[in-house]
Amino acid sequence: MSHLHPFRSKQVRRAILETLSMAGDYALHTTVLVQHVDDLLRPPLQGSEFLDELRLLLTSEHIALVPEPLDPCLKQYVLTARGRSLLASSL
């Protein structure tokens, strides 16, 4: 459960989903994803907002982790079909 204000929580989640939707079938590394999400948001990201919402979206399977075979330390993400439906719904 996110401890952010519900409106802000929704805003951050939407920005993550929208950024991943733009990547299509390609995955986005954490550092690239956070950069772009930060650019989309006003006010910009603060504290642990990004990681908190990212974790929630992973748990709820709206996004998925994609293995990076050449460097297991790098985490990259894609939007799932479930995530796409959420974007199209009342989020």
């Binding site: 733009m22 390609y26 050449l70």
Partner: protein, 177 residues
């Protein structure tokens, strides 16, 4: 697959209309950049709905990112096609290279060339590791086969001559090579 955005009529505009919106703020040579206020006047005339300054500001941040991502995907797909023609990389490697190109193109600022060079180094290192492992497996199999053949030869010496069973054992050991 096109994404539908529940919260924004602007984001759901058709591709050509998104291009029109882009040109309002980033005109081609000789064009005039419109203010947000001027664009707010144009939107109902063109698309039949109204917007607000806040929504427009958010929309243009979104559109800028979308265009960057579109360009990154196009570049990655192009590289994949070109490399596929050479036939040197398998399907997995093509996907990895395309992903690397996409990542470097999608990065804001940063040194894309260095990123690609680093990813290529990693790929080569991985290929070398796989090749070394393959060679090691072959050497192990050869050593195993040699040991079996020696055992068979010693057994043949003690019993005198090659029996059908001995020949079958030799064939099995040779099959390890």
């Amino acid at each position: 697959m096109e994404t539908v955005y529940s919260n924004s009529k602007l984001k759901n505009l058709a591709h050509e209309d998104l291009e029109t919106m882009w040109r309002f703020r980033y005109p081609e040579d000789g064009g005039t950049k419109l203010s947000y206020e001027a664009i707010l006047v144009e939107i109902p005339k063109l698309f039949g709905f109204s917007s607000s300054l806040g929504a427009l500001s958010e929309f243009y941040r979104w559109l800028k990112l979308r265009r960057r991502m579109e360009a990154a995907k196009e570049r990655a797909d192009q590289v994949k096609l070109e490399l596929a023609k050479n036939g040197e990389l398998d399907a997995d490697e093509l996907e990895r290279v395309a992903q690397t190109v996409f990542t470097s193109e999608a990065m804001e600022g940063g040194d894309a060339k260095t990123y690609v060079a680093l990813a290529t180094l990693r790929l080569n290192k991985r290929r070398t590791e796989l090749e070394e492992r393959r060679i090691k497996l072959l050497e192990e199999r050869a050593a195993e086969a040699k040991a079996k053949l020696e055992a068979i030869a010693n057994a043949a010496k003690s019993t005198g001559g090659l029996t059908p069973e001995t020949l079958a054992a030799i064939e099995e050991a040779a099959g390890l090579l």
